[in-house]
């Protein structure tokens, strides 16, 4: 047990509820410029396959807070990363504000879309960076929509780059009875945003057989696809570097959409639409390590369905993905 200083009784208390990385909770209107604003999107109503990602935001908050607590409990001033042998400490200022969950309406995709978009737009208009927690991957579209609207107001006439790490293209125009707005169409809907640099759109981790028509459209507009085979053949770091170079051509800003299902389902089964990409946690981290240095100012992470993984590892691996991509914000050099 750790000795908690009883002279400061408030140190024994924390605010009720879960927040991402155990950060403060509050209204987007109070966000400090340059900080991160968390937007929960607990919806899996637009997922056509296995349900459960509506529990994703809560699981991400729980698992990231568990990680923070595991450090805090040890009363250390500094930490060494064996990978780089550099020393770090946890940021103590309010680098992040958890703005809670967007209102989800199971019966209306339109209302859910607007509700999420409103929040990510509000975050970005404060010059803060939205971290949107899915939910199924459809919710990437409303998150990116809000980002795009704020981007248009802040940088009129400019365009942003886009990287999607995913086992699937999500580039269908329609998915059968599910129509145009669901977890198979978010990439396509994002590509239709007015200020996205379509020719800069990059996919990393695509696996298996894909729709030839979608492939032609993506490559026709200048987009780039790195398959899971490319990750194995070229190496995760090289793929991420090439992807980033492609996405940033003529752009200063990057939107990153992380679908955790690009990782092989053998290692991370707690997700709705599984693939066997062979991509290991180590490779996935190597990709994120490259992107952590990119000028990301909009981010979503989707498809964590904790109830589909009885081992509990999926939510913790997903939390670790957030840690890796936000490394330079959560931690500061000691």
């Amino acid at each position: 047990m750790t000795d908690t200083p009883l002279s400061e009784p408030t140190a024994l208390l924390r605010s009720p509820g879960l927040t991402l990385f155990d950060g403060p909770a509050g209204d987007p209107a109070t966000l400090a410029p340059g900080s991160f604003g968390v937007v929960g999107m607990p919806s899996d109503w637009t997922q056509s396959s296995r349900l459960g990602s509506r529990m994703g935001p809560r699981a991400l908050r729980r698992a990231t807070s568990e990680w923070v607590a595991s450090l805090r409990i040890q009363n250390e001033d500094a930490w060494v990363d064996p990978q780089t042998t550099s020393a770090w400490r946890l940021r103590t200022d309010d680098w992040l504000l958890d703005c809670g969950d967007a209102h989800i309406d199971a019966t209306s995709v339109e209302r859910t879309t607007e509700s999420i978009a409103l929040m990510t737009e509000a975050v970005r208009l404060r010059d803060a960076i939205p971290i949107a927690l899915g939910g199924d991957h459809y919710n990437s579209y409303p998150a990116c929509l809000g980002y795009s609207r704020a981007f248009e107001q802040r940088q009129p006439g400019k365009r942003f780059g886009y990287i999607q790490i995913d086992g699937h293209l999500d580039f269908a125009d329609k998915l059968g009875a599910w129509g145009t707005h669901n977890h198979a169409t978010n990439g396509r809907r994002n590509s239709e945003l007015p200020n996205i640099a379509r020719e800069n759109m990059v996919w990393i981790g695509i696996t298996g057989w894909v729709d030839g028509g979608e492939l032609e459209q993506i490559e026709g507009m200048g987009g780039k696809i790195f398959s899971s085979g490319d990750v194995h053949r070229l190496g995760a770091t090289a793929v991420a570097e090439q992807a980033l170079a492609h996405a940033m051509r003529g752009c200063d800003h990057l939107y990153l959409s992380i679908d955790i299902d690009a990782m092989d389902a053998g290692f991370l089964p707690g997700t709705g639409s599984i693939v066997h990409s062979g991509i290991t946690p180590h490779q996935y981290c190597a990709i994120l390590d490259v992107l952590a240095a990119a000028p990301i100012d909009g981010l979503d992470i989707a498809e964590l369905a904790p109830s589909l993984d009885p081992s509990g590892r999926s939510e913790r691996i997903a939390a670790h993905m957030l840690l890796r991509v936000l490394w330079n914000h959560i931690l500061q050099p000691a």
């Binding site: 568990e66 500094a78 064996p82 020393a87 053998g266 290991t280 981290c285 913790r316 691996i317 670790h320």
Partner: protein, 300 residues
């Protein structure tokens, strides 16, 4: 060793079951220390000893089902046989080790000391990482403390201050005080990233050099060294850790067996891994670690 016995009381790798009086010199004496992990979200290491014992049978199945207890590795055509002479003695589990306390730790250390005094090798089945600490306490009380080889994703406090320890598989943030203490003690840290980046052969070379340079070794195997995606049955979660194949390659590639002074296998929580891979990996790694003490080559 009976090939068919399947007693309700499972013993590690079909070891003889016995008491402290049954020691024979050079034997490996197995002691379960079912202490639960204090990790609030993911307890379950109390079931580690049983999980390891059961998994050891699954790993040995090809041997146990062969009349001569001999198997062929079809990769190399190499034949190995389970040693017929009794080299393993399972003395059971330590009762009442929860909650862990200094007294329990001293009891474990004292049992280790007694096993060593009989010129046998203690093999502790944890339990969480504190069991490894107790093993080292027990081994360090003698005149010539062994060198410490720690296979773990994290630096172990008890080993960090021993003389020139070798840590293999470190991954994730480490407390700076431990890191510096380890460096001050002349320790070496071979991180998981080193192994991923430079390859398993390089890792085997440097570990083998360490083994050669030391007469006797205490070996702590913490299953959290494994990547969480491959083996989830541990209290902590290690993302980007070693694969079971990498761990196996190290343990079967480094000639440790004859130099072992004591072993602790810790942080196996079977219930956290419904696939059963963690205890299976642990048992497979442990049997590879015991190597020539347990198996002998047979001429083809």
């Amino acid at each position: 060793m009976s090939s068919t016995s399947n007693l309700a009381a499972t013993r590690f790798a079909n070891a003889e079951f016995g008491t402290l009086d049954d020691f024979s010199p050079k034997a490996i004496v197995i002691l379960g220390v079912p202490v639960d992990s204090p990790a609030p979200q993911r307890p379950g290491t109390a079931a580690g000893p049983l999980g390891l014992r059961e998994a050891s049978h699954a790993v040995l199945q090809p041997y146990l089902s062969s009349p001569s207890q001999t198997v062929t590795d079809i990769e190399t055509d190499r034949r190995t046989r389970l040693r017929g002479d009794s080299v393993l003695l399972d003395i059971g589990d330590l009762v009442a080790c929860n909650p862990w306390s200094p007294t329990v730790s001293q009891t474990v250390a004292a049992l280790v000391g007694e096993i060593v005094a009989h010129r046998a090798i203690p093999l502790l089945l944890g339990g969480d990482g504190r069991v490894a600490g107790a093993l080292l306490d027990g081994l360090f009380t003698e005149g010539q403390p062994p060198a410490c080889l720690v296979l773990s994703n994290k630096l172990m406090p008890a080993a960090s201050t021993s003389k020139a320890p070798l840590f293999v598989g470190a991954n994730g943030l480490q407390p700076a005080t431990l890191w510096n203490a380890c460096r001050d003690a002349g320790g070496t840290i071979l991180s998981a990233e080193d192994i991923h980046a430079n390859g398993i052969e390089a890792a085997i070379d440097s570990i083998a050099a360490y083994v050669r340079a030391n007469e006797r070794l205490a070996c702590c195997l913490d299953l959290e060294i494994l990547d969480a995606g491959h083996a989830a049955g541990t209290p902590g979660i290690n993302v980007g850790g070693l694969t079971p194949e990498q761990l196996m390659a190290i343990l079967s590639g480094v000639p440790l067996a004859e130099k072992l002074a004591g072993i602790a296998v810790v942080n196996v929580a079977p219930a956290l891994d419904p696939r059963g891979l963690t205890e299976f990996a642990a048992a497979e790694a442990l049997l590879a670690l015991l190597g020539t003490r347990l198996f002998e080559r047979v001429a083809t």
